[in-house]
């Protein structure tokens, strides 16, 4: 039988990990939205060289499991940093660094690749003719993007952005591999004492479901607002 009392307790323990999960998600999105957007523009407008480089990067991120990316960053960056610090004769213990910094790096690097592809497809969907129209009335490229391209691009990209965000929230659960104090780790550690793992998994399940549902609702609402100029289409 399930231990309902523990389930309830563990649910709140899991909830206490939400701020860390959200922080990692928001920082990663904050980094990857502008960078991913610039990458997308580079891939469409600039030289073949950048297109290739970014293409390889995207393939690397898409073609390897998240957990492997975490292990690579978590094990290689400290070594690199340490030799760097030794070189500069800085006396810092790199191994005391909060794992959240590694989480920021891994999840940002990952999201940049995902979002650059989302923005690239959205740019292709609105780009050319609206841009030409903006040029024809004397707007600069920057003004055209600000007034015309980005507002339309967001509408196209919104469903995919929602998808990427919920995927990112769920992916942060892998942060337990670098002992990041997020939802999954906290709830699981609490279950260790009495082996209440089923209860812990149910608690974790519910917290992610709740979190992702809220995010989804938020995106839907925002998308509706952005679509103000579309009529008679779903």
């Amino acid at each position: 039988m399930l231990d309902y009392e523990f389930l309830l307790d563990d649910f709140f323990i899991a909830l206490s990990g939400v701020p860390i999960t959200l922080l990692v998600t928001l920082i990663s999105l904050g980094v990857s939205i502008p960078v991913g957007f610039i990458f997308a523009i580079f891939r469409l407008d600039k030289s073949r060289f950048w297109n290739k480089i970014i293409g390889v990067y995207v393939s690397f991120v898409r073609g390897t499991p998240m957990i492997v990316q975490i292990f690579i960053v978590y094990s290689s960056i400290p070594v690199l940093l340490k030799s760097f610090f030794v070189l500069l004769q800085w006396d810092t213990d790199i191994y005391k660094l909060n794992p959240i910094w590694y989480a920021f790096i891994v999840f940002s690097l990952n999201s940049i690749a995902i979002l650059s592809e989302i923005f690239r497809s959205a740019l292709i969907a609105v780009h050319r003719e609206q841009l030409e129209a903006a040029y024809s009335v004397g707007l600069s490229t920057f003004q055209a993007y600000r007034e015309i391209i980005i507002p339309q691009l967001l509408v196209v990209a919104m469903p995919n952005l929602c998808n990427a965000t919920t995927n990112l929230i769920k992916a942060t659960s892998l942060g337990y591999a670098m002992s990041l104090q997020e939802i999954t780790l906290r709830a699981k550690v609490a279950a260790n004492a009495n082996y209440n793992y089923v209860e812990a998994y149910i608690a974790i399940f519910l917290v992610y479901l709740l979190l992702c549902s809220l995010v989804e609702y938020g995106f839907k609402h925002y998308e509706k607002k952005l679509r103000f100029y579309k009529f008679g289409t779903a």
Binding site: E129, E132, Y135, S136, L139, Q143
Partner: protein, 250 residues
Amino acid sequence: MLRIKNVHKSFGKNEVLKGIDLSIDKGDVVVILGASGSGKTTLLRCINFLEKADQGKASFGEVDLDLHQAGKKEIQSVRKKLGFVFQNYNLFHNKTALENVTLGLTVGRKMPREMAEEIGRKALNKVGLSDRYDYYPQQLSGGQQQRVGIARAVALNPDIILFDEPTSALDPELIGEVLGVMKKIAREGTTMLVVTHEMSFAQDVANRVIFMDQGVIVEEGSPREIFSNPKEERTKQFLRRILPEYTYTI
């Protein structure tokens, strides 16, 4: 007012423009005729720098520039002297009719909003859309959208308005309203360079007709010269093919 010289443009191996010279004076209404693929649209797009010509010189008023090498600043300043009406309207989807017309003024030219809206409303009234200021493009018919497109070009008070097949994407019953508007602004003395397949417009409104074929200007002259007394065999062939279809009158 506008002179272009020796414009060349290729897409890959396909040479679309093979050395075009053209000059337009103030108040001219010049119509370019020609079969599909003759390079009419490409010529217009090169003039407005929507395509980069491989070679060619242009002078706009007293400004001389190279159609291949012009810098960003030069391009933008030339574009501010030209209006462009697109075949498929290309209205800004996320802006109302009035915002479409005023955007080039408020953002492109930093004009105060009230002043721009005053001009924008006048332009929309001129094209007969005084009751559609706050409609989004998706709420307008094709003919109405194209009239907003024309108002958008007119509002900027450009030296020349370039029309790229403005009625080709329209249902036949909507062509008349757009041609009517074009006729009206032509009569007001607007300088226009029009690519079209509407022979009636060329005959009634143009003061000069240019016939293009395979990337060169074959013949040019007054509408009377071109339509009733074409000299070149290629022009004759084209007119024979197209004139039976010409039944539309405004």
